[in-house]
Subunit: 309 residues, 2 copies
Amino acid sequence: MSQFPDTVRIVEVGPRDGLQNERAHVPTAAKIELIDRLSATGLKTIEATSFVSPKWIPQLADAAEVYAGIGRRPGVAYPVLVPNETGYDRARAVGVEEIAVFTAASEAFNRRNINASIDESLQRFAPVLARACADGVRVRGYVSTVLGCPYQGEVPLADVVRVAQALYDMGCYEISLGDTIGVGTPLKARAMLRAVAAAMPVGALAIHFHDTYGQALANILACLEEGVAVVDAAVAGTGGCPYARGASGNVASEDVVYMLHGMGIDTGIDLQALSETGRWLAALLGVETGSRFGRATAPAGESAAAAVE
Amino acid sequence: MSQFPDTVRIVEVGPRDGLQNERAHVPTAAKIELIDRLSATGLKTIEATSFVSPKWIPQLADAAEVYAGIGRRPGVAYPVLVPNETGYDRARAVGVEEIAVFTAASEAFNRRNINASIDESLQRFAPVLARACADGVRVRGYVSTVLGCPYQGEVPLADVVRVAQALYDMGCYEISLGDTIGVGTPLKARAMLRAVAAAMPVGALAIHFHDTYGQALANILACLEEGVAVVDAAVAGTGGCPYARGASGNVASEDVVYMLHGMGIDTGIDLQALSETGRWLAALLGVETGSRFGRATAPAGESAAAAVE
């Protein structure tokens, strides 16, 4: 039957993918505290921020200050998003050792968001990847809209495979496959993963599923069964969905870790510490946590007070 | 690999399991309208109400009026919860044709909630089952706390199997296995289902998973792969969790149906009509829908307004 991995690495994307889609203003010091708290939970990869132009994402305009301020733990990677050589220069100036680049598998999404075709967007990354390779900087590649696009609807599997393969061939050590709008369901997620895994090692793949339609954990389960062992998630389920206001965003790290530990899969993460960080973050943002584990285990006196009747 | 069923029957429990745990007062006419709306979605089983003593569950004290008021569609079953012969008499007086009985697999839960051991609770149902059998009334059996208990923690699989088997042997046509507090994870859910399916036909089993820890859809997926083809769910994810205030209750029917349809599994349900009923119910209760599908697809202007940016 199932071939579940023994261990799974969680890539915590809350400080970047989460915060960039939250409305609340988060002070730089709080961003640093968030990352430092996450570093103490046992997480091995924490996406720290984004060096995308502040004109595009003002929420993360303090990327350099955040990165310079965090306490980097040995053995923990702190990748940052980099869109182009300008961003790469800014990131390197503060000592970044791992970056992430991103493109969509959907032609329509690329054209609408960055006014470029898939091939053009890949070409834009080529010099960044070449410099990173020369500098010994590790590069993670994101492929978005792998299970659907808000503009074109269906995204052909062949496009997902082609983009993932291109990023892998350009030198990305890991390709994160993103269901940006959370429309995927388990068998489609599994089929997508299989198609990509036929073109490159499954060990080089990560899954990045949003919970917009409530499907994220089921989709993760379906893909774990195919051997993928890296899962992106955001503490407290931060992030929202820019394509459906009020809808859920990233799958909550706490809920993923609860599932994995319940399945006997090791993550190296202290779930209680992670959950406390999620509650702290939700309080900071003034929102209810998007983690169901977090709500179910909230101490008495908090909004989701536990009580045995 | 997977042996997913071609079709799944959803047992809609919102009017009973959902409403009995909501705080808002719901007028009898609205309960009737809810069931009639659900009847129009293609659902084949709708748990209508409970003939438990109004002293225990005042929210459903109008059980007889509700049952008498609904428009029963041919081909749709409207089971009602019945705790004892008094409830059975009340139900039969208004023409009920299908009932549901319930007990926990946890000794501690039974003792604390009904002051009886598992065996004593089973004995209490014997006369109800005998009369139902003689009257040609179909009986569904609920086994609760199958993946964990708020009082004793772990529940031995052998106890789950024993209780399920006893209800099946007493004449229940279907046994619904309930993760009452939503603590289960996929491999535990699957192992539980396998253990029960070794003792009786998997076709006589249903799964009833709460989403308290966000695991319900993943657990359902894991069990569908074992061939179970009946899934309990509540429209708008109504119900809450009496053991963790503010936490999620029943898995939302809309989210289950979205997953199943996305997997190519037929339910016979019009998802849009179901989702509209969920939005109507959430508005009636004055709560945000517990369905992520419902939030993601809410029309612009509602609290979870959709907007493509």
